[in-house]
Symmetry: C2
Subunit: 115 residues, 2 copies
């Protein structure tokens, strides 16, 4: 845990969130500034800042995050119509919280380019 990380504080419960899912590896909760009818963040319990910090040892965590993101889309009823998954890294990517997080967005049509 990084004591200065808002997402670590959400994981610990120090900061409240609208929890969607949790297990031993990850936590999912509603984005506080939703950009679509469904906008959920899926994050690893292990703190690492971004994909740039992902190492070989994170492969299983990353695979788990992707599978759970897809499972949550199914659970939320957005899988068939479709959804967009986005991971932002650093400034050009538009990353604002430096704890790796997957945006799961659904419930409306998404255009291309993606931002």
């Amino acid at each position: 845990m990084d004591e200065n990380c808002i997402f670590c504080k959400i994981i610990s419960g120090e900061i409240p969130s609208e929890l969607i899912y949790k297990d031993d590896v990850c936590v999912a909760f509603n984005d506080i500034s939703p950009q679509a009818p469904t906008h959920i963040l899926v994050i690893p319990r292990e703190h690492f800042a971004s994909l740039n910090e992902a190492k070989d040892g994170h492969k299983e965590i990353l695979g788990h995050l992707m599978l759970k993101t897809a499972a949550i889309a199914e659970e939320k009823g957005i899988a068939d119509q479709g959804y967009r998954v986005v991971i932002n890294t650093n400034e050009n990517g538009g990353q604002t919280v430096f704890h790796l997080h997957i945006h799961l967005l659904g419930g409306r049509q998404f255009i291309f380019p993606p931002g």
Copy 2:
């Protein structure tokens, strides 16, 4: 291999591409309709249509794809400034080719919402 899949034909070499990276699990190549100075697609050799079709057995493949996407960002010199990773699923997501693929976009600022 799905005989009607354009990405399977890129993997096999039947359709040419600007190859960026390949290994036993995945292939990466330039998007033919780039939406940013760097726009690379990273795809698994195994054909499955989308994240909706990803099963528990795909966890290692998905983790591998994410790690290699990050490694390619580093190799292409876009990691520090940042990049956006996007996976589209079905119609609302804007998916156009039904072989799972990760968009790696960099070299410019990306806005939010992501499409």
